[in-house]
Symmetry: C2
Subunit: 133 residues, 2 copies
DNA sequence: CCTACTGTATTGGTAACCTAATACACTGGT
DNA sequence: ACCAGTGTATTAGGTTACCAATACAGTAGG
């Protein structure tokens, strides 16, 4: 399956981009429970990235209960893809919102500006993932 | 004057937190053109940070035309605090919005969720800065 | 068995950041 | 003239994160 893109020239480390990309695909249903996930080396080659970097993302997702591993066989989306607890989800969302609001204010954008831009980006992110499916 | 807070245990480097904090105070009018800014050593002591780190932030703001320096006297908010060009402002806003939308989707938040949280954060950021004034 | 594929562990290099200690040139007030 | 306060420059050290290269361990299938 064709996966998302990663951008090496970005602040966020690659392994986090991979981790969040996977979470997005699951949230959007592009990746369903029980589906097989590209092997570490395969995805690494596809993204032009070191296998270790992919492995780190998979490791974290496995620890979080999102992925399930059968050694020697491969990695799969967990049957019960552990969603983050409601409180955790809210915390991460709040942190991200704080960062976004902070930069918005720093460039002199109004709340309406920020909201409008958020709408555009949200739609774009969703569309981008649907396209890859 | 009492300035903002910085959080050393955060992804964003301290010098950037200072830089953005200053920009926010200007955008909100807490810091007006011609106002004097705490000296490098003074702010460093106030934030419990190395003077070099503050100097780096001031340097960038001066290069950007936001601050003006009179050698031996101190640093001031530029009389014509160079706002970023409209295109640049939009670009940074768009990038930030993309990051925010990305994590929002990854935690399964709807656009309404993200918008609501953005509203809260925006208000909070503004209030936080007003309080310090 | 042996090969080819999984995920995992270890190690090393590189870059960024922060801190620290000095030193310099300039200005204002005493 | 002196001194205290500015911003600035330089050098060094230590920590941390990221990425790459390599070797290891397990499983499936011919």
């Amino acid at each position: 399956m064709n996966m998302f893109d990663i951008n090496p020239s970005q602040a966020a480390p690659i392994w986090r981009q991979i981790e969040e990309g996977m979470r997005r695909m699951i949230s959007l249903g592009t990746l369903a429970p029980g589906d097989t996930v590209p092997s570490v080396r395969e995805l690494a080659q596809q993204l032009r990235v070191n296998p270790n970097t992919v492995a780190r993302a998979y490791q974290r997702l496995t620890d979080a209960g999102v992925f399930a591993v059968r050694r020697g066989e491969g990695t799969f989306v967990s049957e019960e893809p552990t969603q983050l607890k409601k409180s955790e989800r809210h915390d991460t969302l709040r942190e991200a919102a704080t960062r976004y609001a902070g930069t918005a204010v720093s460039v002199g954008a109004t709340l309406d500006d920020a909201s409008r831009e958020l709408g555009n980006s949200y739609e774009r992110v969703v569309r981008e993932h649907r396209r890859k499916a």
